[in-house]
């Protein structure tokens, strides 16, 4: 049955509201109040407000001894809830089950960041009919932000008619409206927006809509500006070290920028293009070690499951070393972002993109240029892939991964010029190949990291055992890499299917 969420006028005191409502008691609708309870509710969401955008609110009810997690819809009705021992920061900290699947489908690997904490006083009530049957349930909820100097928030009324008692619910709603209640905003969280440090926003849509007959330079500039905004959006998240995905998104935005600069070489004068490309290469370089270590640390639990239990336990000092190494890399990245050179690059690039001096370099229509570049990137990938006979040729696979990324970025940057369904199809098959090549690259990097951390370990109790565990881990990662390489040919064969090839030809040749 529908749940309705209402706001009461400011400074509404529950007992006065109840007094007022009781004056309207009838045999068919009589108000009964139950004992109030108190709750501390913590609201969280990913940095890009995925839960909010899904029309839900994630709440942690800090009970004693247990906490209750809930995903509530806009009417405050729990669409899913789960009892656990302590609050969580990631969906995959939960045991497998319906709640974890639902949360993970929204948040993926993103960290749940605190948004607000609210102290609630919940005053439950019911409406009974002449048979003393409950026909409507509800609660008046007085709220204020938690902590010292709590800011009062609008008092909520939550009303739920029991199934089969619609007219009684309508009558109860009327009573509350007569008391001054109004429909509440779309989500409980919206009440909190004025007091939030971080406000909900829609993430930037990286897709730039391009016009067929637009000049290539003008189109490329619009794409670059969007990518630059994306780079800037990640900065604070990196500085605060809120979520490892900020570094990832930062790197992707810069790689895309460099890829478009290279792929569409004629859009700007060569000197300018080379200068900015180098500047971005220097900018992205310190983020590599952070990202490598973040992904490694994320995957170690899975890797350790492939080792015997005692070896997994002996590996602990290496994980500690990995964390120290990661924090050092993070400090280096933060230092770079705080340097004046970073701000200068961003400002300079933005100014360049907006200036008219860089406008006239390529008057070729963007569609023509995009077709040429995408076809060239595709041909290059095909030549490189077809030349790999032995899937143990590690260097060639690494180069192929870079070629695949180049093609993917070109498809994504200029895809709006071509039929959407076709671009999606091409990107899907390419992604499957990229994921495989990416996993291979990760395994190679992670083997290197294990060796590096083993060398860095201070001599201590457990040192020898840690070294042995490191050796076993490297062997295990090598075995995983062999499995991934065995998958390569099948995935590449799917990518180079005749139907795909024909589609590339039709669209881009």
């Amino acid at each position: 049955m529908t749940t309705n969420l209402l706001h009461l006028p400011e400074k509404s005191e529950p007992h006065r509201i109840f007094e007022q409502l009781k004056k309207h008691d009838q045999p068919t609708l009589r108000l009964v109040t139950d004992a109030p309870t108190e709750a501390r509710i913590d609201y969280s969401d990913t940095y890009d407000w995925r839960i909010f955008r899904a029309g839900l609110t994630f709440k942690t009810n800090i009970g004693n001894p247990r906490v209750t997690l809930s995903l509530d819809d806009k009417d405050g009705r729990a669409s899913a809830h789960f009892d656990c021992e302590k609050p969580i920061a990631f969906a995959n900290q939960l045991p497998p089950g319906v709640f974890r699947e639902k949360l993970y489908s929204i948040t993926d690997v993103r960290r749940l960041l605190p948004i607000a904490s609210v102290d609630e006083q919940v005053h439950p009530f019911r409406f009974l009919n002449e048979d003393e049957k409950t026909v409507v349930r509800g609660a008046l909820i007085s709220r204020e932000t938690a902590g010292e100097g709590g800011i009062p928030l609008p008092t909520l009324v939550r009303l739920r008619g029991l199934r089969g008692y619609r007219s009684e619910l309508d009558a109860a709603l009327d009573l509350f409206r007569q008391s001054g209640a109004k429909p509440s905003p779309e989500s409980e969280l919206e009440d909190l927006v004025p007091v939030l440090e971080r406000k909900p926003h829609l993430p930037r849509d990286l897709k730039v809509h391009l016009e067929d007959d637009e000049h290539a330079t003008a189109s490329a500039k619009r794409v670059f500006l969007r990518l630059l905004d994306e780079v800037e959006d990640q900065k604070q998240g990196i500085l605060d070290d809120l979520d490892i995905e900020f570094v990832h998104d930062f790197r992707v935005a810069i790689r895309r920028t460099r890829s478009v600069l290279k792929n569409f070489a004629r859009v700007f004068p060569d000197d300018d293009r080379i200068k900015f490309n180098k500047a971005f290469a220097d900018l992205v370089r310190p983020s590599g070690p952070v990202r490598d270590r973040d992904v490694y640390l994320q995957k170690t639990d899975t890797y350790l499951q492939g080792l015997p239990a005692e070896a997994a336990a002996d590996f602990a000092p290496l994980i500690d070393q990995a964390k120290r190494s990661r924090n050092q890399a993070q400090d280096n990245l933060v230092k770079l972002l705080r340097e004046p050179e970073y701000a200068k690059l961003v400002k300079g690039w933005r100014k360049y993109l907006r200036s008219e001096d860089s406008d006239a370099h390529s008057t070729l229509p963007i569609r023509e240029l995009a077709k040429k570049r995408i076809w060239k990137a595709y041909k290059r990938l095909r030549e490189a892939g077809d030349a790999i006979e032995d899937h143990h040729e590690i260097e060639r696979l690494h180069e192929l991964r870079i070629d695949a990324k180049r093609l993917r970025y070109a498809l994504e940057a200029f895809g709006s010029l071509f039929p959407d369904g076709s671009i999606k199809l091409l990107t899907k098959k390419l992604k499957a190949l990229q994921d495989n090549l990416g996993d291979l690259q990760d395994l190679a990097v992670h083997q290197g990291l294990v060796a590096e951390h083993a060398e860095q370990l201070p001599a201590s109790e457990g040192y020898r055992k840690a070294l042995l565990a490191a050796g076993r881990m490297v062997a295990h990662l090598d075995a995983l890499a062999v499995q991934e390489r065995d998958r390569f040919h099948g995935l590449y064969a799917t990518f180079r299917e005749q139907e795909q090839h024909e589609l590339y030809r039709r669209l881009f040749k």
Partner: protein, 246 residues
């Protein structure tokens, strides 16, 4: 969806109290539970403080899922809903007899909302009727509360004979003793003789208790107001035993 019918040819044996209390226990486990009051006396409906349907109830029965879903009422107990009693059993029998597959109509309706609930309890009117034929077709198990007396055992034998000839193959019939007064020699003797009975009685017996009679006054399942009472605890044990069999 599990379908559990409470049925006996005789009336006044504790069918409704059993159906209501067991449905309540099912809902307490967090299972979405529906209790369908198929007895025009409407005792289950009364116990749960819901009004019986007066107009058009039997027509809704035959029309289909959507019409039935409209009349379902949520009870005061989480996860427990009720399909209230219709006004006239006679009219239901007439409506069923006029439909296609008259002995399978209720089973077809039940199948249509099996995604909506985990368990369905059927509180059946006494007697062998078209409705009871439908129940036998639809149910996974038929619980038969039985007072330990000679006449009651005779009636149970009639049921067994009827089902042997006309019932669906493999229907699970689970009699159990209800309203047992252990001070009565007859009750004790009757219970002791059941080993030889073709129907295997459940081990749990529900004692006679005024607390259960008070369901009509309290208008609630017995666990709500007398959870520590011997009869309430016996129903809990009965529920556990039933679940071990299903």
């Amino acid at each position: 969806m599990q379908v559990i019918a409470c049925f006996n040819i005789k009336g006044g044996v504790g069918k409704t109290a059993s159906a209501v209390n067991l449905a309540y226990l099912s809902a307490k486990e967090g299972k979405r539970t529906l209790l369908w009051d198929l007895d025009s006396q409407g005792a289950a409906t009364f116990y749960l403080r819901v009004k019986t349907l007066i107009k058009g109830g039997s027509k809704k029965l035959v029309r289909g899922r959507q019409d039935l879903l409209e009349v379902i009422r949520e009870t005061d107990f989480e996860h427990l809903d009720l399909l209230p009693a219709y006004f006239s059993n006679r009219k239901i029998d007439i409506a069923l007899s006029q439909s296609k597959n008259p002995t399978k109509r209720i089973a077809a309706l039940i199948r249509s909302f099996e995604e909506d609930y985990d368990r369905l309890f059927l509180d059946c009117a006494p007697g062998l009727t078209l409705v009871s034929e439908n129940i036998f077709e639809a149910a996974n198990a038929v619980l038969a509360p039985t007072i330990p007396s000679t006449l009651a055992m005779r009636t149970l034998e009639q049921l067994r004979s009827h089902l042997d000839k006309n019932g669906p193959a493999g229907l699970m019939v689970l009699p159990f003793f209800c309203m047992v007064d252990r001070r009565k020699k007859l009750h004790k003797e009757c219970i002791s003789k059941t080993e030889a009975h073709p129907f295997r009685f459940l081990d749990t017996a529900i004692p006679y208790a005024s607390a259960v009679e008070q369901m009509g006054l309290k208008r609630a399942p017995v666990h709500e107001y007398a959870a520590n009472n011997e009869a309430a605890q016996a129903y809990s044990a009965l529920w556990a035993e039933l679940m071990s069999k299903l």
